[in-house]
Amino acid sequence: MLTLAVLIPLLAALVLAFAPLSEAASRWTATGAAALSLIALMVVWAAGGEGFRAVAEVPWIPALGIAWRVGVDGMSLSLALVSALVFVAATAWPMKLHDARAYYAWMAFLAGVSIGLFVTLDLIVFYVFFDLSLVGMYFLIGRWGHGDAQHAALKFFIYTLAGSLLILIGIIVLALNMPTLTFDMRAMIDTPPLAAAGVVPGLVFLAFVIGFGIKTPVFPVHTWLPPAHVNAPGPASAILAGVLLKMGTYGLIRIPLQMMPETFARWALPLAIIGVVSIVWGSIVAFAQENLKRRIAYTSVNHMGYTVLGIAVAGSALGSETARQLALTGAVVEMIAHALITGALFLIAGSVWQRAEDYHLPNFGGLAGTAPRLTGAATLAAFASLGLPGLAGFVAELQIFVGAFGVYPWLAVIGLLGILITAALFLRMLRQMFFGDLPAERKGFTDLNRTETVLLTALLALVVLIGIWPTWLLLLIDAPSLIPAIGAGG
């Protein structure tokens, strides 16, 4: 079933690459593929189970212990589900495009490899998907972006490729240190390699942190993100923020935290500090941005900072077990909430670009009158992003902060500043965009059309549902099962 979830979008990409479909047919082929993938994942979800479920394995290079292994636990299933959902929304999002068929082919390709990354249980396959996602995004930004899209795409590409090479090295070293050579994630989680202290585990850990840190991104390797977002088409930005950034934090949990718990615990504090610096720095810098997309992009640095803080706390082996569980639950919920919320915000930004070809906030104002639905959606998404209770971001941030306070109280307190500054910057954005006088050149600004309304409503309804009743999601994530044995009892 999981294999289907990966193959359907990839097949759709293949079809789109060769079959001469019209623009509308291409769009619905890609959307349909993502939707089928989502359905396949929901079937897995409905089947329930604990630990890794829906496991399937096909030998590929037995001599090296490499195989097509798929299977999901609560964390990867929830991330795969939300990724598929973001893909459905992003591909269905109405766009004015040149070479539409190729665009949708790349979208479907990206959907397949992104979902594949979350459902695979083989590190080499993980690495391949990690890199292929980069290729897909490179083309989406470079070909369909605007402004200085080529430079932005190249910067994104070079940065994350440098990171992914470090990850490859780390993966190889981990595999080589297994009793028998294998790239099976389950085996590495059960018997973590490189448990001893020493230079090699430290270096491998560093490689993973830098590699995943670039992708996440964390301070100070985040500077590729804003140009990539600004110049990408709206739906690609939604995918970049909603799906691709999660690969970094998912990787951090899956590999360093679960496969190298001892080393992780030794380096948890510096990682937590990086998280807090990202929280504060991301929000302060976002506040100064006058470009709509840059402002949202920097809030991603801030939000992923919360996630990294939560992950670092979970792996710290300090404090109470309750605190670490809360922090990790919060971190995973933050990933999902951020995917939905920032995905929605970037789709909104895409709509703004389609209508105005401008992101400069001072050039806007008073849109609440001409575009009330857009205003409503943006307001809800902005409040969700600033962590208003009753919406999904709060559920995540509350747990991260409470958990972090139990382990690194001072870092948690400093991190709280982030939620104050994000409040200021999002409210400022809302005022600049939607309230006050309507500039003359925006008189013809149209409201969201029906497709846009439906898609945003779906994403934001989930944000509200998680905000009010997160129980089902917290049960699905099942964070206690993710924290490695070294953390137990501490």
């Binding site: 270096l203 306070f405 309230f435």
Partner: protein
């Protein structure tokens, strides 16, 4: 059942917003929804509720009598204000206004019924968000937007205290329930108590958070009436009273509450007395009155504070309605241009009742609850009692000044009253009048017993001093209303300017500097070492490439640790090659697109495709080479 108290008004409000309708329809729907909420509050007493989020986070609700009294108060005030709003405010956006006021009420009810700090925090911030939307209601105008943002951010700064309280309580006990809060001691208790105090004083518009209340005056008058009486600011005073049993053990908590409360009571009184803007006068008064309540809680009489909260709510809502009527008739909020006694005789009588209650003139209700607070603070110390009396005198002065200036003698204008406005004013002033029954021991004793309030005993000299201060205050107020011609003083004694120059502008500058630094220095400092490294590696690669590969292979065969080192060496080479590739691409890119002017739109599709095909080709070559190396390494290593 108990949760319905929170979600019913929210759903009803959203429905009314969606349905819309004429003034009369909206007024009727809003009033029915408020009445239904009131009925829920009446029947939900003593109930409890649990809503499980996870094993670790359980939302809880409870409605002991003290909380129930406030739960009843909120919809009881909302109802007349809905009538007022649908009668007075512009029809444009009226469904949104009526709907959001109900949502606001739902958030406040969640604060009231909360039985744990997480639930409290949820209601607390929903109230803040609704106040943002309501203050910014007239979004087409320039002023409300920034004011709404200012109010939300400043109160959220205080909310961080509540976050801290949640963190401290859950960190120490694993639960955020009020019961767990009661078991704290030491540092966690201090953090929780002072965190809650900061959150409460920010919501209640105390010094130094007071300026947001002035900015909130850019919202519609009906919003001010609700925000200053039974919601938002009231949440601050309420929560300190509600959690007093849990928090009072924290060292210094009572003293801090008294210091902030009494300080604001006196300063807010001065600010109010010197205002010429009708609503800002009332806003200064709200800070002062909330200050008295908070000080009373600090002195150990939370029940008395809640009783004053109830009396004050009716009184202050009535006065805001009066200010709204005066504004509609006179065309401005300037107290010097009103004088509406002849034009609006009925409104003048109703305003006089509410103003005298705010002035604490016996036998009106405000007089009773204020004297109870004077007695409570007398217990805490004679000086504190004296300050309370001074604050009471100031209240008498500004309340009198408001009433005399707004509804004193003046020319007769064409002033048609509107039934909704007058009904609201009559209900609220009537409520303040009816509450005067609290002077009777036969009434105040059972009420106090029901909510668990201990009524303090006081000295005769205190009572006399207090009444004398009120009398002087009334005289001073009458005099001020007649003599008044000065322009408004700096907002909130310069506190607003302090925020502007000491917080907001420096933060803008800091943020701009950080953004520039991020764009230039950080970006470059990450890229440059990488470029330098890859250059070095590339040189190394040129010089020693023949020697390294067999070396690495041999090394790999001797053991996995060495293989790891080999892998790192290969990776360095890989990244060097990559960097070279990147640099080469960059050059080609520059050739293709003249830097700065090159835009994708201007590029021929063929060139673009050629570029990308080239890139993919190179990339896959590198990928395959890397993969082959990895496989080779594994074969040797395995």
């Amino acid at each position: 059942m108990i949760w319905a108290l929170a979600y019913f008004p929210v759903l009803a409000g959203l429905a009314i917003w969606a349905i819309g309708g004429s003034r009369a329809t909206l007024g009727a729907m809003g009033a029915v929804a408020a009445a239904a909420t009131l009925a829920l509050a009446l029947v939900a007493g003593g109930g409890t509720g649990r809503f499980v989020w996870s094993e670790l986070i359980v939302l809880q609700a409870a409605l002991p009598p003290l909380a129930q009294s406030v739960a009843i108060l909120v919809p009881a005030i909302l109802l007349p204000i809905t009538l007022f709003a649908t009668s007075q405010e512009d029809t444009r956006g009226l469904p949104r206004l009526v709907g959001l006021m109900l949502v606001f009420t739902g958030g406040m009810e969640l604060v009231v019924i909360a039985g744990d700090l997480v639930t409290l925090l949820i209601g607390w911030e929903i109230v803040g968000a609704c106040s943002w939307a309501l203050i910014g209601h007239k979004w087409r105008e320039q002023a409300p937007g920034p004011s709404a943002n200012f109010a939300f951010v400043l109160t959220r700064a205080g909310d961080l205290g509540l976050f801290l309280a949640v963190m401290a309580t859950m960190g120490a006990t694993g639960s955020a329930s009020y019961a767990a809060l009661g078991t704290l001691d030491g540092v966690p208790l201090a953090l929780a108590a002072f965190g809650l105090l900061v959150a409460a004083v920010s919501k209640a518009g105390q010094v130094p958070f007071a300026p947001w209340l002035f900015r909130a005056m850019d919202g519609p008058t009906s919003v001010s009436a609700l925000l200053h009486s039974a919601t938002m600011v009231a949440a601050g005073a309420y929560i300190l009273a509600r959690l007093h049993p849990q928090l009072s053990a924290a060292p210094g908590f009572g003293a801090a509450a008294i210091a902030v409360g009494l300080g604001t009571a006196v300063l807010g009184g001065i600010v109010a007395l010197r205002q010429t803007h009708a609503k800002k006068l009332l806003a200064g008064s709200t800070s002062a009155q909330m200050g008295l309540m908070i000080a009373t809680v600090g002195a150990g009489y939370p029940g008395v504070a809640v009783l004053h909260l109830i009396v004050h709510a009716a009184t202050k809502a009535a006065l805001f309605c009066a200010a709204g009527v005066a504004h509609r008739v006179s065309g401005s909020f300037d107290l010097r241009r009103m004088g509406l006694a002849a034009s609006l005789p009925a409104a003048t009588v109703l305003t006089a009742i509410a103003a005298l209650s705010l002035a604490a003139v016996p036998p009106l209700s405000g007089g009773w609850s204020k004297e109870e607070m004077v007695k409570a603070l007398e217990h805490a110390g004679p000086l504190l009692g004296a300050l309370t009396i001074v604050s009471g005198g100031l209240s008498a002065a500004y309340a009198t000044r408001f009433a005399v200036a707004a509804f004193g003698p003046g020319e007769t204008r064409d002033a048609r009253t509107r039934p909704g406005e007058m009904a609201a004013l009559a209900l609220l002033s009537g409520g303040a009048l009816a509450l005067s029954a609290l002077w009777l021991p036969a009434v105040n004793e059972p009420v106090a017993a029901w909510i668990g309030a201990e009524l303090p005993s006081g000295s005769r000299i205190g009572l006399i001093a207090s009444l004398v201060a009120v009398a002087f205050g009334v005289l001073a107020g009458v005099h001020a209303a007649r003599a008044d011609s000065t322009d408004p003083t700096p907002e909130w004694l310069g506190l607003s300017a302090l925020y502007e120059y000491a917080v907001i502008r420096p933060f803008h500058a800091l943020s701009q500097t950080a953004a520039d630094f991020d764009d230039t220095t950080i970006d470059q400092s990450v890229i440059r070492p990488f470029q330098a490294l890859s250059q070095t590696a590339a040189d190394f690669d040129d010089a020693t490439i023949d020697g390294l590969a067999p070396g690495a292979a041999t090394g790999a065969m001797t053991g996995s640790a060495r293989a790891a080192r080999g892998a790192i060496g290969i990776a360095v080479q890989g990244s060097a090659a990559l960097a070279a590739l990147g640099a080469g691409l960059g050059e080609r890119l520059s050739d293709l697109i003249p830097d700065g002017t090159g835009r994708v739109t201007g590029m021929a599709g063929a060139d673009l495709r050629r570029l990308q095909t080239g890139l993919a080709h190179h990339y896959y070559t590198i990928l395959m080479v890397g993969f082959a190396l990895a496989v080779g390494l594994l074969i040797f290593g395995g």
